[in-house]
Symmetry: C2
Subunit: 199 residues, 2 copies
DNA sequence: CTTTTTGCATTGCAGTCGCAATGTAAAACG
DNA sequence: CGTTTTACATTGCGACTGCAATGCAAAAAG
């Protein structure tokens, strides 16, 4: 086996370029040649690492999900051991919101993929599992931290929906970041009772 | 002026076909020829009523928004005079969720347009105004109906976000319609206090 | 050394795209 | 009547698309 190169690295390089194109011009502008140009490589090389466009798209979708997962994991582990459920949820959900330009770019790509998968149900299965896992985690936190007034499952569905909806509105530029964060805190107030965050 | 035809009617016919194509295959499949085929007319006729593709897209986007507005207006007026704020909000928000196949199709198109406008900020201004108007209305209802415990503005942002997020998850097939409705009612419980709906 | 496999570049092809140009039929106007 | 204006239909062009095919250099294998 000659000229060993790191396949994952190359694919990640190409996927990065793809996401740059998608964030700036939409998924419809993602073509072999555009991505190649954005990555500064030849179109043939892109074709060498992704035999079809769909294969490239699927890989990029996986990258988006892994990025989000890494972000959440990092933010949570930075909280130290056994944080309060409310703090944990607030940290996690705020991390998932497109509050800075980097996350906005990722969010635009995620939104484009959301519309993409809405028409290709086969690809949407992975997202389904991700939501289910997230939902279970959030419900557990609510169960642990909130008073027993409300059904944790239902409250978790609502809380995740708030996060998702705020993300959409933020991407559309309808709200300022502080408005979205205030709405998120208000939602947590409703679930956990009013509690001014320390610091 | 010869051969008088109703321009609005023709444009609506074409826009209907466009939305059928967009709902089934995504916005990227919306081309002059595809739309013409779906409408059962020639491509030249489409070009006669929309000089550019962008003009056609913009018109279709307006149609989506008008459909939603009409749906909400109809559902609200069916409530009779002076309904309770909570009832009003629940009716309105439930009407905006993609709970049946017709609204799912519209929702897929709306989602596609959302991703579309995320990359074309100039087109997004109209959506911005719509959100602001909706937000003011929801805030007024909350102010009128909920106890003074919470800031109506923030609560309105959260409530709209819940609706939007539930819509996204419903389109992705992550939740059943009854799960989404239960989450919506839970959210209203949080704002207005637990109150079993009559009937 | 030769052989073989891999990495990548280039080229070409069939198809689709938006859009302009052109043609034609028909109806209102003078 | 003729003229003009509207409502389409058809054709064609340049640009772009995904993708297959082909070529070629370099490095590992024997």
């Amino acid at each position: 086996m000659p000229k060993r190169v790191d396949h994952r690295e190359r694919r990640a390089l190409i996927a990065d370029a793809l996401m740059r194109v998608a964030a700036e011009q939409g998924l419809e502008a993602v073509s072999l040649r555009h991505v190649a140009a954005a990555a500064g490589v030849s179109a043939g090389m892109v074709q060498h690492y992704f035999r079809t466009r769909d294969e490239m798209m699927t890989f990029a979708l996986a990258v988006v999900r892994e990025r989000n997962e890494a972000r959440v994991t990092r933010a949570i582990s930075a909280l130290g051991a056994a944080p309060a459920p409310r703090t944990l949820l607030r940290t996690m959900l705020a991390e998932l919101l497109p509050l800075d330009e980097e996350r906005r770019a990722d969010g635009r790509v995620a939104l484009a993929f959301l519309a993409y998968t809405a028409v290709r149900p086969a690809v949407a299965a992975a997202l389904h599992d991700e939501t289910a896992a997230l939902l279970g985690f959030v419900a557990a936190q609510i169960r642990a931290g909130a008073e027993g007034r409300i059904d944790p499952e239902r409250a978790a569905v609502g809380l995740l929906a708030v996060m998702e909806g705020l993300g959409i509105y933020l991407l559309g530029g309808h709200y300022l970041p502080e408005t979205a964060l205030a709405a998120l805190d208000t939602q947590l107030d409703l679930l956990f009772g009013p509690e001014p965050p320390p610091g």
